[in-house]
């Protein structure tokens, strides 16, 4: 499980790969990567589950600072998909749906993945426009730049672009 991390600073890793990262964090962190019209989100962790947790934090950070989200309400999620990548999209879309219908934001996630089955708990609170100053609502997680992969020496990376 993961608590939200400090958001600060910018890292430029290439002309088209300017990222906002939360630093420093050696084992698990999230980033945003640019998309011309929308937003790329990326979670990195030692395990696939951690990467999915971090991707969820990156999702929240599109809307508001995850650090400003209190853990008042708990929601449970269960997803199953034919492969890891579709599972990531399903997981993020389940969060987007819950945020939209419940008028919620989440800042804490605990993900467990077994094969292509995900069980997760998210904690958060109802959107407070003054407190959270939400920047934008997310329409959906997309298959653009979608990837879930293990990188030698870096752990798991889970990423995609979200449509805002």
């Amino acid at each position: 499980m993961v608590q939200n991390m400090t958001t600060s600073g910018f890292t430029t890793t290439g002309q088209h790969m300017m990222t906002i990262v939360n630093e420093p964090e050696p084992s698990a962190w999230w980033e945003h990567f640019p998309h011309e019209a929308d937003m790329g989100i990326r979670g990195i962790g030692i395990t696939k589950s951690q990467a999915f947790e971090q991707a969820a934090l990156a999702l929240t950070a599109v809307i508001t600072d995850p650090e400003e989200v209190a853990s008042q309400v708990e929601s449970h999620f269960s997803c199953e998909a034919p492969d890891d990548e579709l599972l990531l999209v399903d997981w993020l879309n389940a969060l987007i749906y819950e945020m939209a219908c419940g008028h919620m934001v989440f800042g804490w996630f605990d993900v467990k993945i077994n094969d292509h089955h995900l069980e997760a708990v998210a904690r958060g609170e109802p959107v407070d426009r003054k407190k959270h100053e939400p920047a934008v609502e997310i329409k959906g997680a997309t298959y653009t730049e979608l990837s879930v992969r293990h990188m030698e020496g870096r752990g798991w990376v889970a990423q995609c672009v979200v449509d805002v």
Binding site: A37, Y97, E133, A135, E137, K139, A141, T144
Partner: protein
């Protein structure tokens, strides 16, 4: 590639286009049953499967497909414009007050909810009836309907093809603007072109218009999400190899293809109803300051759609499923889908700009019918990611700078304003000029914003 890729743009726009646009134009050209070409409009930019600004038509008789990715998440997102009969001198003394009333009347931004909450039967009625349903419920007027594509109601909508999840996501969102690039603007016509035509359209310099840009809200987003996955998973069963999963599609004549069309058309009706309800709220707001103002509808166009249209290809009329993703239908003069009073002019095309620059009113051309199925651009298109924008601009500063230019911004999100800073977009004038030079559409009027309500 089954057909060529054709991009309409000038040298400068082409030079600045993301390389992903070319890749996506090429990918669309590989889809089964595509006819003539894979097109991109002058505002094309990196989208999902299709480029935003992409146009492609498919023939069901040749195994053609319908693509959830080719319509996108914000189904039937579009722009409508209202006449006000007012002039800048009318607005100037009450500008702040009008901005505040509009901001309080029209729900905008994350977490905002509408005042209308539909029960399951009402939801299905809305999905089947679109703006016609809204008018029956007392939102908007019957006169509006002739100025909305499909007379305000997309035929063939099947509410039963829309999941309970999608309906639940929409339950609090009727009559809401949304966020991101969606807006409600009060605009001043600053220039007209081809004047006899602009006058026939009832437009002259100094006119005040209202412009509304939004779509099918959570319902459309959920339908897009669900059918995209269904089509990805089913692609192999239809023998479709997807060069990009975002191009997820199904044969038009398949069960899944027909299901998606039923749901997508329901989402189109949701968008039409939503803009009609917002129009009603805008009229209420205006009536508080201008009791005599009428605000008739100029036109309503959608720019994320798949529609069945007859087009002449090689001298023969063919029934095609035309996808426009971030592209506006722009039928030329005389087309039967245009209201009779507008037929001599061509279909109005509304191009949304940024909150600091300009929007445009164009009309479709006869030549455009043969160029890209009667289609034109839809907006400026971003030139910079949202992150780059937030690094470059602060929302408060953007609001101050625009206020100094006489443009009032009202938004619940300062960061949202920074992400939507005018400088983060391409030059909308260059986009519109390119569309005109390519004969896709003709410029009628240029509008500058006076008040912008951003989500």
């Amino acid at each position: 590639m089954r057909v060529p890729g054709i991009i309409y743009a000038d040298k400068s726009l082409i030079r600045d286009m993301d390389l992903k646009v070319y890749e996506q134009v090429v990918n669309v050209a590989t889809l089964p049953g595509i006819v003539q070409a894979s097109f991109a409009m002058p505002d094309a930019h990196w989208g999902y499967g299709f480029p935003i600004g992409g146009v492609a038509a498919f023939d069901p008789k040749q195994g053609g497909v319908v693509s959830a990715g080719g319509v996108g998440f914000d189904i039937s997102c579009g722009v409508r414009a209202l006449y006000t009969g007012l002039r800048p001198d009318d607005i100037a003394p009450v500008k702040e007050k009008l901005a505040d009333i509009l901001f309080s009347r029209v729900p905008a931004g994350v977490g905002s909810t509408g005042r209308l909450h539909l029960n399951p039967q009402e939801m299905d009625d809305m999905l089947a009836g679109g703006a016609q349903w809204a008018v029956q419920r007392g939102y908007g007027t019957a006169k509006d309907l002739s100025r909305i594509e499909e007379h305000g109601c997309m035929a063939g909508a099947i509410p039963a093809c829309v999941s309970d999840h999608a309906k639940k996501r929409q339950k609090d969102e009727m009559g809401t603007l949304g966020s991101g690039n969606h807006y409600l603007e009060i605009q001043e016509v600053v220039e007209t072109y081809h004047d006899p035509l602009a006058e026939q359209l009832g437009i002259q310099a100094g006119d005040i218009l209202v412009s509304i840009h939004c779509g099918s809200r959570g319902l459309g987003h959920q339908i897009g999400t669900e059918y995209l996955k269904k089509m990805v998973v089913a692609a192999s069963q239809y023998g479709i190899t997807l060069p990009d999963r975002e191009l997820a599609c199904a044969p038009i004549d398949s069960h899944l293809g027909q299901e998606y069309l039923g749901a997508m058309r329901a989402a189109m009706n949701c968008a039409l109803a939503n803009r009609e309800i917002i129009t009603h709220l805008v009229r209420q707001a205006f009536s508080e300051i201008f009791p005599q103002a009428d605000l008739p509808l100029l036109y309503d166009v959608s720019h994320n759609t798949c529609k069945v249209e007859e087009h002449r290809i090689g001298g023969q009329s063919r029934r095609l499923f035309v996808h426009r993703k971030g592209a506006t239908r722009a039928f030329g003069p005389g087309h039967s889908a245009i209201p009779p009073d507008l037929q001599p002019l061509g279909q109005p095309v509304l191009i949304g700009g940024t909150m600091g620059t300009a929007s445009y009113l164009l009309v479709g051309t006869k030549e455009g019918m043969g160029l890209a199925y009667g289609s034109a651009c839809h907006g400026a298109g971003r030139s910079m990611s949202r992150h780059q924008a937030t690094r470059q601009w602060k929302g408060h500063r953007v609001i101050q700078e625009l206020a100094a230019q006489g443009i009032l911004i009202r938004s619940p999100s300062v960061r949202g304003v920074a992400e939507e800073a005018p400088g983060a977009y391409k030059d909308v004038t260059a986009v519109v000029d390119a569309a005109e030079h390519a004969h896709l559409a003709r410029k009628m009027a240029k509008m500058r914003p006076l008040i912008c309500i951003k989500g």
